[in-house]
Symmetry: C2
Subunit: 238 residues, 2 copies
Amino acid sequence: MVSKSQIKLITSLSQKKYRQQHGLFVVEGIKGIQEFLKSDFKLHSLFTVEGFFTDVTDITVVSETELKKISFLKTPQKALALFAIPIFKEKKKQGLQLLVDDLRDPGNLGTLIRLCDWFNIENLICSNHSVDCFNPKVIQATMGSITRVNITYTDLNNYISQQNLPVYGAFMDGVSVYESQLPDNALLILGNEANGISDTIAEKVTHRISIPQFGNANTESLNVAIAGAILVSEFKRG
Amino acid sequence: MVSKSQIKLITSLSQKKYRQQHGLFVVEGIKGIQEFLKSDFKLHSLFTVEGFFTDVTDITVVSETELKKISFLKTPQKALALFAIPIFKEKKKQGLQLLVDDLRDPGNLGTLIRLCDWFNIENLICSNHSVDCFNPKVIQATMGSITRVNITYTDLNNYISQQNLPVYGAFMDGVSVYESQLPDNALLILGNEANGISDTIAEKVTHRISIPQFGNANTESLNVAIAGAILVSEFKRG
């Protein structure tokens, strides 16, 4: 049974200000919730239509109709949990770090977090105006991999200045990434979906790189998550 | 002014059976529509809130409210057009061909079409049960690049048998793509989002390849569009 105040709390968590006020975010689906339960994230409450979670003692069993009221998904996925927003642990400053400059699409951020997890990129640095990583759509797209990536929101300009590392940025007119020497320790910046990397941050870039275009000159740019995947793969393939 | 019968026609085009019955599909947004107008696709009708299309004589000017009634988007984008579903022209059977085995997510198919366009992959072959490429969400995700890629729906099994080409398939347990010899002329198969490549098609694969995982062993697989991007980039980088 879900109370009115619980419904109000949960639906409010679609908005960043309420997530911050309550220090909570939403995870949906059995598989996703299990990933978070295995991690250091702290469970706040768990609502499920059946007893899928034998290790969790404090479960609220709900009806499909109740789940529909609290779910952010068109097709609710059997279970919904609230977890506490963590303080990400101190980052190791080694290897490749991925930076995003005002990334706005939740699906893109979720995909990039999953990419970082796959390629063992421990640090994802987001500009302050990038989409919030605890947005329900981001969480849904990460498939649990957010539990294994350190995410920091900060002023990118200051952050880059403090690193003393080569700074790679993706630009349409950059040097082919296939012909670039790519170091193990570096910053790689991806830009906003519509406007790319902002002018202020572009000034900090020491190596402008691009993915060569093989097709027709009319081709739209690649989606930022796709471009990010190809660039990260190039850094990691050795 | 949009008539009731036009509203009925347009909204019916969210479903494949009505798209096939009428031979029409929907494109939204000025930029997207302009891409189609530049192509060989044949315009059926165009609805816009202002006169953005100076070259088109037969425009229906609509109000924002009317546009909202016919749009598939949460935030309608100033214009909506219907185009005729084309018969894709005969494919050149050279270079890399991308095959998808029961791909279901419209966003993934749209992203892969855009990827094909960027990397000049002229042939995208979809199994008969893959999501329809004229689904409005696919069209939205392709950013017009569907005008430059030949897409065929067919029985993949038969198609592969007829090609007499090396067949590469993405599998979790495949050989590292970074260590594989990748020919210019080949078939590359990507599988379904949940189940990967089906058993029947897997039997046809001559080269099982994978993207090595650098992170934690608990990591979920990569999204199929992301994996596709990295694999295609490996084929094309030379």
